[in-house]
């Protein structure tokens, strides 16, 4: 138990303000003669022109509401350089507001400035632990929300050439990203949605930029969130539940390149794809475009093969048809020739038959004609009796006593009609 201080005063024997303050100071300094380790959160922080760092330290309630304790703190210029460097080396981030810290402090009291904690050392591993604890809480919350895998489950559009960029125009990483893209043979269309990437306003700024992209999601294939390399980053910005939740539920695939030296941020974990640096993001986009081009080329070769093979098959079919036509036409011509030959033969036969028949007819006609020949008739013993007028005698008109000429085959006889008898 600390021994109570017994100060006896009355309205006649009082202390001045300074007396009291000096007493408080002396008491505190005698009680807290050695520095003590305390945990707190930096709620405000400012480095003045002379290089001293003034802070406001708080201990928040369970619901992150009103502080349960609050105190001013200071890191003198002589200690600030060492403390801040030590913190940055260990955490990769600058000492800043909103983070939990474990500080070695000297309790001081000043009659004018009052109670203050002079910070003489810092244990960065506590902050790392704090960050890790919050990170785990954040991951657990995102998993409970059911959004943990949402962005990663989005299928990457093909091709991926319309890129929305959430970054700061002045960030070195943004320039690296753009330079890498420009080196590519593919024409990417990029649009920067400017955002603060560090400082207290960064969380709201990143979320606002994401909102602006989401409003025009149809115009983009993906969104890349990139941050400048080299500069010391805000430790917990991309472990922020709000940013991670927005990224996880973002309608387009999100690719991060936020340059963490150490752990992967929660934003990296929920993003569709995460790369170490902005340049790596650009390289990835170029590789994807190349793969796409290779696929297209492969398809085009396949297509060409299919077309060529089809053409070949059609050509073979045509050749087969053409050969068949040639064969069939030979068959047709042959058959026609057979027919013609047969017709020809028929014609010849018919013609010959006709000619023979005509010849027979002529022979038979000649025979008849020859039998009518008077010479032949005479040779058979017949005679022609002609009157004095030289015409063949008509038995009706001839009278006895008339002279007649009788023609025989072998000569003629002059005779006189003595009598006639009619038959």
């Amino acid at each position: 138990m600390v021994e109570p201080i017994n100060i006896s005063t009355s309205s006649h024997e009082h202390l001045t303000l300074l007396d009291l303050q000096l007493m408080v100071r002396a008491t505190l300094e005698s009680r807290f003669c050695d520095p003590v380790w305390i945990s707190a959160e930096i709620s405000e922080m400012k480095v003045n022109r002379s290089g001293h760092c003034y802070l406001n330290l708080v201990e928040k309630g369970n619901n992150e509401g009103a502080p349960r304790a609050e105190a001013r703190g200071v890191i003198w210029r002589s200690a600030y350089a060492t403390i801040s460097r030590k913190f940055e080396e260990a955490t990769g981030a600058a000492l800043s507001t909103g983070i939990g810290v474990l500080l070695r402090v000297v309790v001081t009291y000043h009659e004018v400035y009052g109670f203050s904690l002079q910070i003489v050392d810092i244990d960065a591993s506590y902050t790392l632990g704090e960050v890790e604890r919050r990170r785990r809480e954040c991951i657990a919350q995102l998993q409970r929300d059911g959004v943990w895998d949402m962005n990663r489950e989005i299928e990457l559009p093909r091709p991926m050439l319309r890129i929305a960029i959430v970054s700061s125009a002045t960030a070195a990483g943004y320039q690296d990203f753009m330079n890498e893209l420009r080196r590519s043979a593919y024409r990417f269309r990029t649009e920067l949605f400017g955002s603060l990437m560090q400082g207290e306003m960064a969380e709201d700024s990143v979320i606002e930029a994401l909102h602006l992209v989401a409003e025009r999601e149809e115009e983009f294939d993906c969104v890349v969130v990139i941050r400048g390399g080299g500069s010391v980053s805000d430790l917990a910005l991309f472990d922020s539940y709000r940013i991670a939740s927005h990224i996880a539920q973002f309608p387009l695939p999100v690719i991060t390149g936020i340059g963490h030296d150490k752990d992967t941020s929660v934003a990296d974990l929920v993003a569709h794809t995460s790369c170490k640096t902005p340049t790596a993001v650009a390289t990835l986009l170029c590789e994807l475009a190349e793969m796409e081009m290779a696929t297209i080329e492969e398809y085009s070769y396949t297509l060409r093969d299919i077309v060529l093979s089809r053409l070949n098959s059609e050509r073979l079919t045509l050749e087969r048809h053409s050969a068949e036509i040639a064969r069939q036409s030979v068959v047709a011509v042959n058959s026609m020739q057979h027919r013609l030959t047969s017709i020809e033969e028929s014609i010849a036969t018919l013609a010959r038959t006709m000619i023979r028949s005509e010849e027979q007819k002529l022979s038979s006609h000649l025979m008849v004609v020859e039998q009518s020949n008077p010479e032949i008739i005479l040779r058979r013993g017949f005679a022609i009796v002609r009157g004095s007028d030289g015409r063949a005698v008509d038995i009706q008109n001839i009278k006895p006593g008339a002279d007649v000429n009788i023609e025989l085959a072998t000569g003629t006889i002059e005779a006189n009609v003595t009598s006639k008898t009619l038959r």
Partner: protein, 63 residues
């Protein structure tokens, strides 16, 4: 006497007409000789034409 060259059909028709007259006996003895001579001549011509036709047909057929 320049006579028009008869076709085979015309010649044959005339021969047949002479034959018909011969068969009917309507020809007089005096006409007979000339009719026989005419028919004989026509038949000879027909035979010639027939021979020519046969030759041409054979030529055409045997190409």
């Amino acid at each position: 006497m320049a006579t028009k060259k008869l076709t085979y059909s015309e010649a044959m028709a005339e021969v047949e007409s002479i034959l018909a007259r011969l068969r009917s006996g309507e020809l007089s003895i005096d006409e007979l000789t000339s009719a026989v001579a005419r028919a004989t001549k026509l038949i000879a011509e027909c035979r010639k034409m027939l021979a020519t036709t046969e030759q041409e047909v054979e030529k055409l057929i045997n190409g």
